[in-house]
Symmetry: C2
Subunit: 196 residues, 2 copies
DNA sequence: CGTCGAATTGATGTCATTCAACTACAGTGG
DNA sequence: CCACTGTAGTTGAATGACATCAATTCGACG
């Protein structure tokens, strides 16, 4: 069985095998098939997720029925509407599986136990949040200031493998442009001999 | 002297007067005049800030020399490039005072002491980060999906008082449009008898 | 009153959207 | 095995939203 979560905690939160054993009971995993929902809008999302394998997306649907991808989460990423978990609020987001996916379910209980067991975990968890904020701010400044082409180049720079795993129309949705526009951006890049 | 930070911690992080006394030594305040920098790009930002009074903005300047406002922080808000503080990295952002402003300087030391003294503080701090993430995600989905007008309406809904305190060209920069476009959006709203 | 930056307005340009047609390909059922 | 269907991706022409540039106007302040 895949156990990348334990490995991840060892490497990043510097947890020991002993501590991980203590946590064992709090670790719950679940598998979703391609296309299944991990969580839906207007429901209370009880967990965040750590993706062990596969790929999921977090997105909204606006008042015109259009999807907007907020985040992709491939293996070893965290995702989920944490504020729904945390504040027990109704979620604004959908999360579904782009590929068959196995995740670890993370709830408040898990968090508290992990912090109890390992002070390092608390530090790491905070770092994660800070880092997340940093990414979001970067993305905002791209959306404010950069053209569609610049945003696409930034995307393939940041997530080179996702370029192949995610259908083009979803990437367009992530970039905030239409699939047609992305197609044209790619055509133009090809014309200028751009190599991915 | 203004002591809104203590009040804030009492109300939000549920800290007691005793705990606050213990923290006293770690609380450092500083005042900036309108136009002064709290922090600049390419320097390591040693603190985050809690704004006791006044108003600051956090922004970048892109490769074309254009400013993009990432965040406004009026009284009782936190701001700062936390990732620069946290990871000791060079900051991407400028922070300057839009009005004469008094802030509390928050560094890693302050954070650690506060967490030591009050477990509630740790919880609250985490909530703050979650909340920040929620706001940023909302903003991203607005930038991806909403028109200039919708974004402006959302802005005055979220920050009604800032509409008066912040010059229009900065609001435009926050919304990701030009001052001219914002002017036209406002004109159009006025034509339709929109009341702020 | 004169100055300087902010805000408005108009004319024009650019980038991305929209809508529609068409191609490519994968899956389904006869 | 081939026709039928549906989805992704591409392309073209027309449209729309916002940007750019230039010319005023407004308003605060010395």
């Amino acid at each position: 069985m895949n156990n990348s979560f334990a490995t991840y905690l060892k490497n990043n939160a510097k947890m020991t095998d002993q501590q991980l054993e203590q946590l064992e009971g709090a670790i719950v995993k679940k598998t979703f098939q391609k296309g299944q929902f991990l969580s839906q809008k207007d429901s209370i999302c009880k967990h965040a997720f750590f993706v062990e394998s596969g790929l999921v997306r977090l997105y909204t649907i606006d008042s015109n029925g259009k999807e907007h991808v907020i985040q992709f989460a491939p293996e070893n990423w965290f995702t989920g509407d944490r504020s729904s978990v945390y504040f027990n609020e109704i979620s604004e987001y959908y999360i579904d599986a782009i590929e068959d996916t196995t995740v670890v379910l993370l709830d408040a209980n898990f968090n508290n136990r992990a912090i109890e067991i390992s002070p390092e975990f608390r530090i790491y968890n905070e770092k994660l949040l800070q880092n997340h904020i940093r990414h979001l701010q970067k993305r905002i400044s791209m959306l404010i200031g950069a053209s569609a082409e610049e945003r696409y180049l930034d995307f393939i720079d940041l997530y080179p493998d996702l370029t192949l795993r995610v259908p083009q129309w979803m990437i367009a949705s992530f970039l905030g442009i239409t699939p047609e526009s992305l197609s044209r951006v790619r055509k133009e890049l090809a014309r200028r001999n751009f190599r991915p």
